[in-house]
Each structure stands twice: as C-alpha cells, then as structure tokens.
C-alpha cells in the first residue's frame, strides 16, 4: 500500500517536472538543450544529496536544521587542508569531509536520541553553534580557488560518460550512486524499515523492541555524513569558500523533502521522492533566473505556492487512501 502511494507521488512529481520543462521551452529560446541538462543536473546534485540525508532524519519524525552549517563547515575545513597540502589524496579528502560531517551529525544525534532534547531545538542550536565555531576557527578568512589542487578545480568539469554535448558529470554520478544506495537501504534493509516504523509510531517501535535511540542516532550520523559529502561537492563547485558558505541550505533541503512527498511527521516518503523534489526546486530556480519574460523575483513566490500545492495534493491522496 505504502509503496503504491509513493509511486503515485513520484509519478506526480515527474509529471510536474515535465510540465515545467514544457512550459519554459515555450517562453525561452533554445531552452531544451544539452546545456540545460548539464547545468541543472550538476546543480541538483548538491541539493539532492543534502535532501537524501534530510529524508533519513525526517522519516524518524525528526528534523535537521543544522545541515547548512555542516556543509559550510566541511567545505571550509577540507578546503583549508587541501590549500595547505595540495598532495592530499582525493579519496582522503572525501573521507575527511564525510567523517567530519558524520561527527557533527553524531553530536546532533547524541543530543536528540540520548539526551532526549527535541530535534528542532538541538539543530536550531547547532545551526548557530557550528557556524560560530567555523567563523572563530577560520578567523573569517576565505578559501581561495588558486590555492586548491588542480584535480579539485577540474572536478566539476569531469564527465563519467558523454554523448555528443550531453555530459554526465562525476558529481551527478555520485549523487545517483548515493540515491540508489539509500533507496535500496530504506526499502530492503531492516534498518530502513525500522526507520519507517519509528516515524509511524515511536511507541509501537519501542514496544516491538527496536533500539529506537540507536536508530535515530544513526539517522543523524548518516544525515551529517551526507551533508559532509555535500560540503565537499560545494567546495569543488564554488571554489571560493567564505565563512557563510552553505547558509540557508537547511531550509532548501527541508523544502525539497516536503515537495518530494516525505511526510514531515515521519513514517512515509522515499529517497527517489527527495531527489525529484530537489530536482523540481532547482529546475524551477535555474529556469526562472534565465527567463527574460518572467521576473526571476517571482521564483520564491512560486516556490512557496508549489510547496503548498505539493503538500495539499499529498494530503488529499493520503486521506483517500485511508478512507478506502
């Protein structure tokens, strides 16, 4: 039953994406091009990975508002290490980002799962705290592209496969890999099913003998790790990292999750939904900013309406399902 509702939701999202593409192709010349795909896919990758992490946490009826600060922190820290030593192996750099992100996520996780502080309070606090530590630690200096190793500067341009002018960037491949991994994990592993169970009913999950605390903790650690990975991609994409890098990403990731049909009160939603939600938001943003006819300033107003519409449609679908 749940899977069917999710499939339907994902279908609606895909339809919306197609509609947006069609609509803009009418008003923007040369809109449907290889470049649009290259451009938007690379930009989506960053938000999508963050949204996947957020999904894990939201499924357990929690929320992580600190991801923007984690992205900024890891991007800065890894950027600094790479500036100081250009010879750090790429794999080590990635692991450093993921590890740092996981550590920050673990801090959230301990407070939420074991100290029983509501997630919204903890992550509202660490949103400020992580950022503060970054500002103090960095002495408000900026990471400069010129000091970064060449492989990192070239990374955004690197393709896995190319077909004529259509490129599948490495960052997009990484995002797809992460998405598949977590989709499988959530659907087929006992860990994934238990996350859903906690979100549906924490009481029942506890009574069933699930280690709910450990599971919630793990969700936060994974969310942090994915935010760390996002931080690494952020560094590669933007190069110059200031102390406010990634600010506001937390709300964007929550928006992507909500548009993607993940119930904000836990228990239902899919990784694919989160990726589609992120894609829709980013596509809308990238398209509006290009359009000469439609003011780019309409972007946020439209996005707000889109979120409302997505959630309202969703709630109608859910209600009908329940009535049956």
């Amino acid at each position: 039953m749940r899977l069917r509702a999710e499939t339907r939701r994902e279908g609606v999202l895909l339809l919306l994406i197609v509609l947006v593409l069609f609509g803009f192709s009418l008003v923007i010349e040369n809109y449907l091009s290889a470049r649009l795909f290259n451009r938007v896919s690379a930009s989506v990758a960053i938000l999508a990975i963050l949204a996947i992490g957020q999904t894990l946490v939201v499924l357990t009826r929690n929320i992580d508002l600190s991801v923007g600060s984690i992205v900024g922190f890891t991007a800065y820290f890894v950027g600094q290490q790479l500036s100081l030593d250009n010879d750090i192996h790429p794999l080590v750099a990635v692991l450093m980002a993921v590890g740092l992100g996981a550590a920050l996520g673990a801090f959230n996780g301990v407070l939420v799962a074991f100290c029983r502080v509501p997630a919204i309070i903890v992550t509202l606090g660490t949103l400020a705290l992580f950022r503060t530590i970054l500002v103090e630690y960095s002495d408000a200096q900026t990471i400069l592209t010129v000091n970064l190793p060449q492989w990192l500067i070239d990374l955004p341009r690197l393709n896995v496969v190319s077909y004529e002018r259509l490129h599948l960037r490495v960052v997009v491949a990484v995002m797809l890999g992460v998405a598949v991994l977590f989709q499988l994990l959530l659907r087929y592993s006992s860990f994934g099913r238990r996350l859903y169970a906690i979100g549906s009913s924490p009481e029942a999950a506890r009574n069933a003998g699930f280690p709910t605390r450990r599971l919630v903790f793990t969700a936060f650690v994974l969310c942090g790790a994915l935010a760390g990975l996002t931080g690494f991609l952020f560094l590669a994409r933007f190069g110059n990292i200031t102390v406010i890098a990634g600010i506001g990403q937390e709300l964007k990731s929550v928006a992507a999750v909500v548009v993607g049909g993940i119930n904000i009160f836990g228990g239902s939603g899919s990784v694919l939904g989160a990726v589609l939600g992120a894609s829709l938001i980013d596509l809308l943003e990238n398209s509006l900013i290009r359009s000469l006819q439609i003011s780019e300033f309409l972007r946020d107003a439209l996005l707000g309406m889109l979120i409302l519409a997505a959630v309202a449609v969703d709630s109608v679908l859910m209600r009908r399902r329940r009535d049956r």
């Binding site: 592209t145 341009r157 933007f238 190069g239 990292i241 200031t242 406010i244 506001g248 900013i289 290009r290």
Partner: protein, 346 residues
C-alpha cells in the same frame, strides 16, 4: 561634549585666522583616539588588507588608544553595521571608519554617532546622501572607475565590441552602484559605441550566488561576450563559472579583482584584464584621516590639506560624484594583465 565645543571653537578660530587656504597639517603623534574599523562584512580578503594598512598607521602614529576591526557577517550586513555603529556610540569610541554596505539605512545611526561627538569617516563605500558622514576616503575617482571599466571592456572586446553584462555586489552597495552608473555614463562616448550593456545582476558578494548569476547570464544572453564584475568576489566566481563551463574562449571576464585571486584566470585567458587599487593603502590613508579628525588636528572641512605619512599629501575636496559630501581621493588604479599579474600575486 566639552571636546565638541572645543572643536567648534577651534573651527571658528581657524576660519577667522587662516581663511580658506589651509596649511598642510603634519600629524602629531601619540594622541589618544579609540577607533573602530568596520568592513562591509567579514570574510573578504580585501577588507583584511585594509585592516593591515590601518594597523600599520596605528602603530606608526603611536596612538595609545585602541583599533578594533569589527564587521557583520554577510547575511546580516545591514542590521549588523547599524548595530556596530550604535554600539560604538554607546561605548564612547572616538571614531568609526565605515565601508558602508547599508545605503542610506545607516544614516540614523551615523547621525546619532555624530551627535555624540564621534568622528565618522567612510572608506571604500560611501553614504550616498553623505548625511552623518564627515569625509569619504575614496580609493579612486568614481567617475574614473566607470571609464576604466569601459576601457577594459573595449580593450578585451576590440573595436567591433559586443554585448556585455555587469555582475555587481549587493544592490545597496553605494560604491558599486556609483561605478556602474559612471560606466553607463562613460559608454555614451563615441569610441565605446560598439559596447552594448544588456543587464546588471547582483551576486551579493557571495560566491555561490555570484556563480549562479554568472551561469544565468550565459544562458540568458547567448551573444554576450563579456561579464564585467566590479567586485573581487564576483569576478572570481564568474571566472570559475566560465572555466567550469569550458566557455573561456567565447566569453571573458573583467572588472575589479585581486591579483592573488585572479592570477590563474588571467594566465589562462579567462580574465585577460582587470583593475584594482591597494586596499592596504586605503586602510592606511583612512586611518590617518580619521586619527587627524578625531584628535582635533583637522576638522574635516573642505580645503584642508594634511600629510598622510608614507603616502604623502592629501586635500579634502567636495565630492564631485555626489550632490553633497566631502572626499579625500587616493588613487591610482593598477590595471593587471598576464604581464604583471604574477608579480603582484605574491
């Protein structure tokens, strides 16, 4: 208050005695003035350089007072600057050196500071209405900046010219707005006839936003040949965006940038030419002006001439680029290209 009255008194005496022609004032060292240097926001390299310059002057002048470097974070720049100026007033600081990022929103706080006897000198970015500001230390002549930008565009695009767009900082950055206006003004001239400005967009001096705005410009204007970014953050982000898109051979970047940040893009042809001035010198000169006014050695009125240590002699003039306001003009520009960028990058 007493200090204030003294100032007024000395002003009267000076006006009666010396008349409009002022002799060059040599700074008397070792006087005490607690000063605050306020950048647009923290995390931008050029402001750190200005801080270095101010520190150099602070030590050179043997000021027993303090020099604080306090800035807001970029997402909170306006409210943050207002709070910093208000706090400085409360603390009873003697002077504030402000790179204004708040347009005229800073005016109430600046006026309140002036009423309490604080010296308020702007640098890098002025208060557009000049209300609450005593003197603006201008890095270069703002009309001249427009001409330099137009000249760089011309030299990159050549005689036949082409479409170009401006990627600016924040919409309320007074300095960038003045430069953009000056450039549009300069473009009226016959020799720039081929240059066609298609759009002005704002990247808010944030790498991510500037990067995305640059990408959007590329798509919006398929015939665009140049992005002019009069901000050190914007120019680097635009260069990176073009490089990531493999478009450096079709679209160029120019504007105001730091050699250290731009060297690779200049050498690989993404940004063949850009300009800047020394922010260290700007901080140094600003400190001199503020110190002299705050310690009562000059009053900060039109026609005063003073000596600013290693930088030589400067005079306070009416600011020709604004309706009201006084300025001290620093200058000059350095224009960088592949021949000289490496030398200045280190």
């Amino acid at each position: 208050m007493k200090f204030n009255k003294l100032l007024t008194l000395s002003a009267v005496v000076a006006a009666l005695g010396a008349g409009p022609a002022h002799a060059e004032v040599m700074a008397e060292k070792g006087k005490k003035a607690n000063l605050v240097l306020v950048p647009k926001f923290i995390g931008i390299l050029v402001f750190d350089q200005a801080h270095d310059g101010a520190r150099e002057a602070h030590e050179e002048l043997g000021n027993p007072g303090t020099l604080e470097f306090i800035g807001p974070t970029p997402e909170n720049s306006v409210a943050g600057q207002i709070e910093i100026v208000t706090t400085a007033t409360t603390q009873g600081q003697d002077g504030v050196m402000l790179s204004n990022n708040s347009g005229d929103q800073i005016v109430p706080a600046a006026k309140a500071a002036r009423e309490k006897g604080l010296t308020l000198v702007t640098w890098d970015s002025q208060i557009p209405s000049a209300e609450g500001e005593q003197v603006f230390v201008a890095q270069v002549d703002f009309d001249q900046t427009g001409v330099v930008m137009a000249d760089m565009a011309l030299s990159i695009l050549g005689e036949e010219g082409g479409d170009f767009a401006i990627l600016s900082a924040t919409p309320d950055a007074a300095n960038q707005n003045s430069w953009n206006a000056a450039m549009q003004n300069a473009l009226q001239e016959e020799k720039y006839a081929g240059l066609n400005l298609v759009d002005i967009v704002y990247g808010d001096d944030q790498s991510e936003k500037s990067y995305n705005q640059a990408l959007a410009l590329i798509d919006k204007y398929p015939n665009m040949k140049l992005i002019m970014a009069p901000t050190t953050v914007g120019i680097v982000s635009a260069s990176k965006a073009l490089q990531d898109e493999d478009l450096c051979d079709q679209i160029k970047v120019s504007g105001l940038g730091l050699p250290a940040e731009m060297v690779s893009y200049t050498l690989n042809g993404c940004a063949p030419e850009f300009a800047l001035w020394s922010f260290v010198d700007l901080g140094y000169l600003t400190y001199y002006v503020t110190y002299l006014i705050a310690t009562g050695q000059i009053e900060g009125v039109e026609g005063e001439t003073f000596n600013a240590g290693r930088m030589g002699t400067y005079t306070i003039h009416k600011d020709p680029t604004r309706e009201n306001g006084l300025r001290v003009l620093m200058g000059p520009f350095s224009v960088y290209n592949k021949d000289n960028v490496e030398a200045d990058a280190s």
